[in-house]
Symmetry: C2
Subunit: 540 residues, 2 copies
Amino acid sequence: MKVVVIGGVAGGMSAATRLRRLDERAEIVVLERGAHVSYANCGLPYFLGGVIEERDALLVQTPEALRARFRLDVRVRQEALSVDPAARSVRVRDLTTGDEYEESYDRLVLSPGARPFVPQLPGVERAFTLRDVSDTDRIAARLDAGARTAVVVGAGFIGVEAAENLRRRGLDVTLVELGEQVLPPLDPEMAAPLADELRAGGVRLALGTQLKEVRAHDVVLDDGRTVPADLVLIAIGVRPDVALARSAGLTIGPRGGIAVDESGRTSDPAVYAVGDAAEKRDGLTGESTLVPLANLANRHGRLVADAIVGRPVAARPATATAVVQVFGHTAAATGWNEKRLRAAGRPYQALHLHPGSHAGYYPGASPIALKVLYDPTDLRILGAQAVGADGVDKRIDVVATAMAGGLTAPELADLELAYAPPYGSAKDPVNMAGMIAENLATGTDRTVQWHEVSALRDAGATVVDVRTAAEHARGAIPGAVNIPLDELRERTAELPDGDLVVHCQVGLRGHTALRLLAGLGRDAANLDGGYATWSAGRAA
Amino acid sequence: MKVVVIGGVAGGMSAATRLRRLDERAEIVVLERGAHVSYANCGLPYFLGGVIEERDALLVQTPEALRARFRLDVRVRQEALSVDPAARSVRVRDLTTGDEYEESYDRLVLSPGARPFVPQLPGVERAFTLRDVSDTDRIAARLDAGARTAVVVGAGFIGVEAAENLRRRGLDVTLVELGEQVLPPLDPEMAAPLADELRAGGVRLALGTQLKEVRAHDVVLDDGRTVPADLVLIAIGVRPDVALARSAGLTIGPRGGIAVDESGRTSDPAVYAVGDAAEKRDGLTGESTLVPLANLANRHGRLVADAIVGRPVAARPATATAVVQVFGHTAAATGWNEKRLRAAGRPYQALHLHPGSHAGYYPGASPIALKVLYDPTDLRILGAQAVGADGVDKRIDVVATAMAGGLTAPELADLELAYAPPYGSAKDPVNMAGMIAENLATGTDRTVQWHEVSALRDAGATVVDVRTAAEHARGAIPGAVNIPLDELRERTAELPDGDLVVHCQVGLRGHTALRLLAGLGRDAANLDGGYATWSAGRAA
């Protein structure tokens, strides 16, 4: 059997090496358009910032090493021009010599990846993208040539990583984002503290605006501003590279990626596709989706190799879990966010909390802002987001695993998570999220969201701040009455008639206040996530 | 309704505060024998070591604060002497005044905890235990009085934490353990690197021996050695405190704890029990077990409050997840270990791996030794252990959550875990464990364990080290033939007839070698966990 793999990174190389382990005798050819295979794509921004010091560290594998270990015929700088599915043949151009040749196959694996989307704008040819080692080399050359100012366009994960790392190199950096928040995968109240973190790190933010023109040493934004930029990096998203698939007549899916079945097979039974170019099935809806993440590319590469040798395989629907470092903070997310749920018209319940990364009495604990979204009917977890200085990736990994296991949001309360003072709390943040969900599900708590407060107040509700007078003085919701929780029992007579919204700093004392009032016959709602979430939402 | 809670820490206080939130009008009395409630039990060793600097930091709550917030009648230094279930009354002694009185109840919650087990030995009254703030005060006084040498008896989690923290205070510390390994909750090959870490931290280890006598400034061990000890701390385990339950005629379970049903109710329908004194149901067998961990105590305290107000509740069976810091290392475990599975005669498959805590090309990655145990028939995960400098608690929390969700070991391969270079790898350690399990389940890999190698070799098997010559030279399995993986295809003729055991450093190249040989028609077994696990096992 002869297998040709197009694309020698992540998914493609996972397929090729797994295939060799399953079939010592197969002929395996890997064609890579670029100059490198199996490079550390996700490490590129950190190399620019000098965190990864050696360029060689990015080159995880070489063609020679792959040949020696896996007997792979790895050819770099080979561009697949077209596929002839009837002849089972690929037309290839050697980018070094310019020669063209045909490569036949019994099975073809497409792993061409995605291309950065670059809008058609005046001067945009001066801008860089950051997708492979060659991109990195070009940017590094500009830095070495003395670039002092940079504009990064797009405040997604890669844009934020690039902005931080260009700051680390000492550049004056402006991050331009069309949306009103950084890190669009997060909901606005979760992203707001990260905007602060970026600003504190010296990154200027230009939100709600977009690039209009790239000039020699500055850019023009659509609000008319000019921003100095010796270096412009565009990171506003990627598009599946489906040119080859399209030329081969393969079915393109509804999201613009290569359509594949559960085994990674395309509409041509001899052709498979993996990685950023291939569509995935969404874990929530089962519909087609695009998830350009390395773990799924690797996983599906392995799966396709299994499929090629005839093993029964079925890719799990994708949840999409991701994490990003933002200076001293970490932000991570899994599943759907609230914006997307709302836009899709799906019912959901959100909850916010701000527990410590570990026991408060042990030094070094820091707050984690944690948000969990779940279905209010079957209580299935739909997504989660977390932001903080420590322990953020752990909590999102736990929720992602709970989702994979089909646990409900209240069942998070029962997880037995490793606790010692340096690592967590007897009630871990994830447990606490479960307890809140259980309280909501049983009617033991009733919450309102940060964005609902002003309308409730306008409708006559009284906002009661049950924090201490000192906390209230440091910042409060306009019009809120301050009755500290520990005085509330004695001061209920001060509460006006009508609807009550109680709140504390993070939601915990608010819950106790709600229960206290319920016990005295007064209904109240508790502001979910407390003043912390409300103020983050207002800043968003 | 009047509820009396005996024991004002963890489970007891969780029950009392939750009950107040559910019933504003209940009369709630909390009787605590000690001088403090809701103290940071798990922080005590760190206070001794000076990591937690302020003693007040340990006192998370005070009776006054609990009264103000939750209208709890919290009484410290009140010893419950006996319970009269028929009269629904507790006889209480005020340890300050010596007065005795009766306290009636409608519902009683027992949360007396566990007592450190102290063997009857000459001079043992000179030894300390470390269970509450008063114990800590006594030990701190001895430290302040100039203790320079210490013997800690018992190398479990608390003993190890105490030994490390006494070292931190500058004492000359010997850790005495009856077993042949430190940290008995781990299997020996997992614990071996932690023994090294303790020694590197300056803790002397006396394994396989026990205390015979405590004298004024030294101890005598049963091997005849004397060890200097201005301070002796006994931490060889705890026993459920069931004196009161027994006096009340409550059923004591097979493991010596208070027997409770799924709602935490004892054999007396008006009496509940939670925390270290109460038996749990084991997650694997459903049988009674003791799990003296804070998270379950808190969880069950909350659950019992729900039960008292008539909510339907059912405690989940206990998996038991725990973590401990050992100088620069972390060790964590969940579920059953191999020793216990073997002793119980349960079939299991073990797998070991040594992946990096995050992507190797990003600075600061360190190896994690990860072990997963699962049922070879239904592939259900039975337990896991991990040891390393970073990211250990996260991986065990993920596996514990996977167990709660009923995932099989191969399904760990499909978890979508947060990946960016500072946090993990595109194939996370937990994913890799899943891939190994899947390879084993499908016959794609076949492993032997570290402790099986010498018998196989004695039976004529050839051990083939597929690492590089340089790795082989740094340390090898006696008698192993070294053929580096990248030369194996060309050198198979050198392999003798008969059984082959291939191995590399961690198991990954060994797997590739096995597949290569299988493709050439030669069967081989791969040494699980490679030389790293084998050498740790030999050191154990």
